[in-house]
């Protein structure tokens, strides 16, 4: 007979008293879960547990408590003797889901998988401040709660109770891990493992209740809470772990702990880890741990976590060298972010310098402020190239021919370029509002039904305001909508302006006929539109069509408010999505044919269109207003490995990035590959399993990428040599 307490503890806690507010019930669910789920250590002797194991309910950072209906039958089979209990949980969650859905269906609509836009379907990444547990301990957080909860904020007692229950849950896990470590130490057959378990047992006597006294305890404590939260992003790891690193005199033990943690990051596909940066006085914040992390990334050569380095006016040359060497190792990381541009963009959102300088990255590459914000990451996406297509077909989708958006006029008879541009912008505005309305309704649902007391404890503002992380508690509650297919849209508009309205070589009717025919039988027209000057070659009068459109999109976003309590800000998506969306797009005036798997690579040129080298493309890309991109830009560059083999090459690389940043560029990523390796990897994938390339927002093993993305990587690589 299975111990009944082990069955679905999350559900048991959640439904223990349905008269309570949901936030408190989530706290009860987490505590019940912490008491009864199976726990273990992983191969790195770090805590390993799954909050959804043996439970129909699960706890995730983007959805809080939800029920996995597809697993019901599985549980029934496993625990037939508890049928009644399991069925009662299922029924209760069905009612709960209904109320969520009902709220949702009253607001917002979305085109879902039509490749035009989406909004709100993902709850979003964020970077809670794990340093709070590591450096203050749960007792320290309890103290904050005590201070805040005595201020008499109306209707907040249940919120604080939910937080306290969650802290108890963390402590419970810590105690159980201490006991398990003692047991494992006794069983251990070799001395090294035994000593690691003994260290863990000792650590859990202090953490997570009190500040970690040494780095090993800090790592164990961090990993416990990080896993409980759902393995998102560590954020500014070299900053909040530094105290424990410096306090630890055992050089061997702390490096060992860091290495084990790195393995765990890789095993779990941890998202984004950010190092270095500056404070509000531009003091450089790189430290010993910064360099240790870059070193370990170089040595291990894993594709995760996604590594980010922040640079600024006072970044030491030594760090630039470490960055270049790490890139030269071929892992496509780190991504380099320019504090000067990022902080400026955050300050434009009203975030003061003391907090803007605490930014880090999450997800693929979206900007967040560690421990202070919930900014969506990301709330939605709009495909700009699709806006051009919809405008040219009067709101009809040319892939699945039906009216998709609004009729903005039959452009066959357009008399001026302005008319064309206005139609595109109307389509863009329409899709943007669909995305943001839909995102806002999803935010409302999550605010009511998805409280996250764990993140509330680790995010500044929540405890102070007595409000949940999902419900406007954090200091900053902006939202992020990304743009896709940017240069495709701009190049299309430029070609129309030039060939139809300036040179009058073709009419709009001819163009639209050709697009409908996917250029079949329009060879000369296709060539002329294709051969038009393109974004990415540093030609200001061409570039402005692309940069102008995105700047306009960003301006629009800033006027739309989030449900959480901020405004929307824009960024761009990684290029693996470009290949996805490309399949949904019909023929375009930039010469692209229906479904052709090439869309612009984030803010850069359409693959193959940048034929004038990296300096020219940099000049093009600087035409965007980087200080408006509060969600973050991705500027992906590829270099031949040979360049990183000589000092002159490395110096030139640094010079390129520094020039770009001095001129206001926000972000720079580089893939360093040997082009022959890419071609060989297509033929003999087995020989190149470790070949890592950067795909816009993240790094991935080349041989595991889809064929479309592989082709896109190759096309770009060979273009830029």
């Amino acid at each position: 007979m299975t111990d009944v307490m082990k069955i679905d503890p999350l559900s048991r806690g959640f439904f223990a008293d349905e008269s309570l507010e949901i936030a408190e019930r989530v706290g009860m669910a987490l505590l019940e879960c912490a008491k009864y789920i199976d726990i273990d250590f992983d191969r790195n002797i770090l805590p390993h547990f799954d909050t959804s194991k043996n439970t129909g309910a699960r706890f995730t950072f983007d959805d809080s408590i939800s029920y996995q209906h597809h697993r019901f039958e599985e549980f029934l089979e496993k625990y037939p003797e508890h049928r009644e209990l399991l069925e009662s949980y299922k029924a209760k969650f069905e009612l709960y889901d209904d109320s969520r859905r009902n709220l949702r269906s009253t607001v917002g609509e979305t085109h879902g998988d039509s490749g035009t836009e989406w909004g709100g379907s993902f709850g979003g990444h964020a970077n809670p401040d794990f340093g709070r547990v590591v450096n203050l301990g749960t007792d320290g957080i309890r103290e904050i709660i005590r201070d805040c909860s005595t201020k008499g904020i109306p209707d907040s007692d249940w919120f604080y109770r939910g937080c306290l229950l969650t802290l108890d849950a963390i402590d419970t896990l810590g105690d159980r891990y201490g006991a398990l470590a003692r047991l494992r130490a006794e069983e251990a057959s070799d001395e090294k493992t035994r000593s690691q378990y003994i260290a863990a047992a000792k650590a859990f006597e202090t953490v997570p209740r009190r500040p970690a006294p040494d780095f090993t305890s800090a790592v164990l404590c961090f990993w416990l809470v990080f896993s409980f939260d759902g393995v998102d992003s560590p954020g500014r790891f070299d900053q909040y772990m530094l105290r424990a690193w410096e306090a630890d005199c055992d050089e061997g033990a702390k490096r060992d702990a860091l290495e084990r943690l790195w393995e765990a990051f890789h095993d779990t596909r941890t998202w984004n880890l950010c190092v270095s940066g500056s404070d509000e006085t531009w003091r450089d914040e790189s430290n010993e741990l910064t360099y240790e992390i870059l070193k370990i990334a170089r040595e291990k050569k894993y594709e995760t976590p996604n590594l980010t380095v922040r640079v600024h006016r006072n970044t030491p040359e030594k760090l630039w060298d470490a960055i270049t060497d790490t890139l030269a190792s071929g892992i496509g990381m780190p991504a380099i972010y320019n504090d000067e541009a990022v902080c400026a963009s955050l300050e434009k959102l009203g975030i003061p310098p003391c907090d803007s300088h605490d930014y880090c990255m999450n997800g693929c590459n979206q900007i967040d402020i560690m421990g202070k914000s919930h900014m969506g990451l990301e709330d939605g996406e709009v495909v700009l190239a699709k806006c051009v297509e919809l405008a040219l077909h009067n709101g009809y989708n040319s892939i699945k021919p039906r009216l998709y958006t609004i009729k903005t006029g039959d452009l066959r008879h357009a008399e001026s370029y302005t008319e064309v541009e206005r139609a595109v912008i109307r389509q863009m505005e329409y899709l943007t509002y669909i995305a943001t309305n839909s995102a806002n309704s999803a935010q409302q649902v999550r605010a009511q039904y998805g409280p996250n007391p764990l993140r509330s404890c680790l995010t500044e503002g929540c405890l102070e305001k007595g409000r949940d992380y999902r419900n406007g508690g954090p200091l900053y509650n902006h939202g992020q909508i990304l743009a896709e297919g940017i240069a495709d849209a701009g190049d299309s508009l430029y070609a129309i302006k030039k060939l139809v309205f300036d040179e009058k070589k073709y009419t709009m009717a001819q163009l639209i006929d050709a697009l409908e025919a996917d250029f079949e039988g329009y060879g000369e027209l296709n060539r002329d539109f294709k051969n038009c000057e393109k974004f990415g070659n540093g030609i200001a009068e061409v570039d402005v069509f692309t940069t102008g459109l995105l700047n306009r999109f960003f301006k629009l976003l800033k006027r739309i408010h989030t449900y959480r309590g901020g405004v929307y800000t824009g960024g761009c998506s990684p290029d693996d999505r470009a290949t996805y969306y490309a399949g949904y797009i019909g023929a375009l005036p930039n010469g692209k044919r229906r479904g052709e798997p090439m869309l612009a690579d984030s803010i850069a040129a359409v693959p193959g269109c940048d034929v004038s080298g990296p300096t020219s493309q940099i000049r093009s890309v600087l035409g965007y207003d980087h200080s408006e991109a509060g969600s973050g830009f991705i500027f992906q560059n590829k270099f031949d490995k040979k360049m990183f083999c000589s000092e002159k090459g490395k110096e030139s690389f640094k010079g390129l990035v520094k020039t770009y940043f001095a001129a206001g560029g926000q972000q720079f990523t580089a893939t360093v590959v040997n082009p022959e390796d890419l071609l060989d990897a297509l033929e003999h994938p087995e020989r190149h399993r470790d070949l890592i390339v950067r795909v816009g927002g993240f790094s991935g093993y080349f041989t595991e990428l889809g064929a479309d993305i592989q082709q896109s990587v190759i096309k770009r690589t060979f273009k830029e040599l």
Binding site: G523, E524, N526, R527, G538, S612, G613, P614, T615, S616, R619, K642, M643, C645, S646, K648, G649, E651, S652, G655, L656, K658, T659, A662, A663
Partner: protein
């Protein structure tokens, strides 16, 4: 007005920092291994990329120099070509390309200056190259002067065949010279390049004497100028003038020029495989034995 065939941005191996290379058309030398055959003639040329041709025949209408054979393959008769460009206009597949175009120094320099911010941060600038820049001496000098006036780095890549005054004026401007040294044996030099090296060496000695910023570049062509003796001769010359040049660099042979010659319809007198790592190691060792530490151009 000058004739150029390329303005190449982000060049990092032709002088200090990040640079833009301006390639001027025309060269009096005929090196059998020429890497940039599109730069040989002072006049424009047409490149014909037969492998891209679909045989559609659109170009036949206006061009008397085109014929189509029984298999539907197009051929170009260069003797009839007037470089009118009608084929470029007609073709849908970029089969034809006119190599070279006329431009004023102002136009060229405006393009060069677009990358000024990169020169400023890296100590880079403009490198005037070719062909052989002294073949369009006035144009080349105008460009260098403009660069000097704009405060960017200026460099000249030259085979050394130009008039003495040309180098004197360039040196007055503070130009960096990327100076080719192909072979010390004058007869062999004539056989390989069409000219003797007497004048070339004289000019180089003149620049040495003036204390100009000179960097030596030595193309290494397997079986042509890379015998033990050739390299020993280079070494003794370099040894004699040590300290008068910043560095000496070898440029290993590569085959890119061969394909370009084929497309230009130009006879290729010399064909070989790309220099191998073993070739390069041998050259470096031979120079070392002669007491010269050389750089290897990537």
């Amino acid at each position: 007005m000058g004739t150029i065939f390329n303005i190449q941005k982000f060049c990092i191996h032709d002088g200090d920092g990040i640079r833009t290379n301006v390639f001027l058309k025309g060269c009096p030398l005929r090196c059998i291994w020429c890497h940039n055959p599109e730069g040989l003639d002072r006049e424009k040329n047409i490149s014909f990329f037969a492998e891209r041709c679909t045989g559609c025949g659109r170009c036949l209408e206006k061009c008397p120099g085109r014929t189509i054979d029984g298999e539907g393959k197009l051929h170009i008769d260069r003797s009839k070509c007037t470089l009118c460009g009608s084929c470029v206009e007609a073709c849908l597949n970029k089969v034809n390309e006119i190599m070279g175009y006329e431009a004023t120094a102002e136009e060229v320099f405006a393009d060069v200056m677009k990358d000024k911010m990169f020169y400023d941060t890296t100590g880079g600038g403009m490198t005037v190259s070719g062909g052989e820049p002294s073949y369009q001496a006035e144009f080349a000098m105008t460009l260098l002067r403009m660069g000097k006036d704009a405060g960017i780095g200026i460099a000249l890549e030259s085979c050394g065949i130009g008039k003495r005054e040309f180098y004197a004026e360039a040196a007055d401007l503070g130009t960096t010279f990327l100076y080719d040294l192909k072979c010390m044996d004058s007869y062999k030099h004539k056989a390989l390049t069409g000219v003797s090296n007497d004048h070339i060496i004289d000019n180089l000695l003149y620049l040495f004497e003036r204390g100009a910023d000179v960097r030596i570049r030595m193309p290494m062509i397997p079986g042509c100028n890379d015998s033990d003796e050739d390299i020993a001769n280079l070494c003794s010359f370099l040894k004699e003038h040590e300290g008068k040049y910043k560095y000496a660099e070898i440029m290993p042979y590569h085959t890119l020029g061969v394909g370009k010659s084929d497309h230009l319809g130009r006879e290729v007198a010399f064909r070989a495989e790309n220099a191998t790592d073993a070739d390069i190691a041998r050259w470096v060792a031979l120079f070392e034995r002669g007491g010269i530490k050389v750089r290897v151009s990537k």
